[in-house]
Symmetry: C2
Subunit: 234 residues, 2 copies
DNA sequence: CACCAGATTAAACACTTGTTCAATCACCCG
DNA sequence: CGGGTGATTGAACAAGTGTTTAATCTGGTG
């Protein structure tokens, strides 16, 4: 196999070898984490370590190229499938495709490490969830919230974070071929409690919520909360 | 200050220097992650790198000692405060105490890396949540679930995972002194949507849940789900 | 005091890391 | 064919890693 036919081709101004290196790096970073050495990646791509820095400047440059590739891949795929508002479903679908699994795994690794890609991705997901939840509200299937932006962020963090933690603890590090089945297991384990919580809630009465609403002076709409730049300076 | 009076003293059979090294390691691991070098930790503790391996055998031995210390610290603290069933409140309280903040931060690092401590901790939290939710059900304030064990795991992963992700993305790495205020910000941002979701749910009608219950053949109780025996074995 | 065990150190070791450098190779243009 | 340009290599470098080893220091016991 000289080139992966499906997901990853050369970007403009990129030689075939460079993109091969980049793909090998994504796969290796996904498998071993970002502490993987340049020589290992070079061996995967059938080249030398020196050539990598010749093409990408440095290891950090290589990682930036990987980030960009994964992000653009996500952008492309997003239009081909409907999300459930949190991106979890989208990721689950992509992880089933053997070709795309490394990308998803790279993404998880990126979130473990907390890079810029992770932040961008989360913001994307929040944006999608915002649209999705708004549509749901308009259609009358989603309850309105007292603070829509806060709820959107909350749901996105919940969905993504729990998935991240689950994979971290269940050793998604190990064999990449286990990844798709792990993903399915996660979804199966999660579906019922999630649906229960979303349709029926957890608590029987409203006392805790009402107490909180009584206690907190801040009214529903806080425009500066959506930006999340700094917010509370005290 | 020769010894930290509050949280960390010598354990039995441990010299004062050893515990000083261990505490320095916890703080340094919390600050820089587990890739922190032995020489850095040694400098923090005012000793040499060789002495560390003399006392702990290896870097991994040192990390095991740190894990054990943090875990035992958590065990001790757990009895002094009521949890909200997920451990989040407990962590939030502890993070406010300047002395304990490194422990909490070490814990987050441990979950980022996915070690054994993280798995143990999550199991602890799930156990606590189990008891707490059961008590809530008995008291009539928590709705019963069709699969209590699955819901418990789900809630624990949600709470812990979203917190982990939030801190990873909001740069809890940087300044340790920012950690307590970051924690408070997280709780404030989270409280309203969480309470809303827990008391009112997200969806207006039950169609999605009913569809799922119709579609899935598996009845509520799956005994092998509660144990989750294999864990991180690979 | 002599002696020993443990704490502690400084230096070296073997290894990996990312990066640099000069040399070679391949190919395209004139 | 000549020449130049970028791809590519292998070796070297400097810095860092965890670990080992021999030596020194220290304190308690006979």
């Amino acid at each position: 196999m000289t080139s992966l036919g499906g997901g990853s081709g050369e970007r403009d101004g990129e030689t075939a070898t460079a993109s091969r290196i980049r793909d090998a790096a994504i796969a290796r970073f996904a498998r071993d984490g970002f502490r993987a050495g340049l020589r290992t990646i070079a061996a995967d791509a059938g080249v030398t370590a020196g050539l990598i820095v010749h093409h990408f400047g440095s290891k950090d440059g290589l990682r930036r190229a990987c980030d960009e590739q994964v992000l653009e891949f996500m952008r492309r795929e997003k239009e081909k499938a409907l999300t459930d508002g949190t991106g979890t479903m989208l990721l689950a679908q992509m992880a089933q495709v053997e070709q795309f699994a490394p990308m998803v795994q790279y993404l998880l690794r990126s979130m473990q490490a907390g890079g810029q890609l992770a932040a961008q991705l989360i913001e994307h997901m929040i944006g999608d969830a915002e649209a999705y939840l708004s549509a749901g509200e308009a259609a009358g299937v989603v309850r309105p919230s007292r603070d829509r932006a806060a709820r959107t962020r909350y749901l996105a963090y919940q969905a993504t974070g729990s998935m991240l933690l689950w994979f971290t603890l269940h050793g998604a590090d190990a064999e990449p071929e286990k990844f798709p089945v792990l993903f399915r297991r996660y979804m199966e384990e999660l579906a019922l409690p999630a649906l229960e919580l979303f349709t029926e809630g957890l608590l029987v009465d409203r006392s805790m919520l009402d107490e909180y609403l009584m206690y907190v002076p801040d009214p529903p709409s806080t425009p500066d909360n959506a930006a999340d730049s700094d917010g509370t300076a005290s």
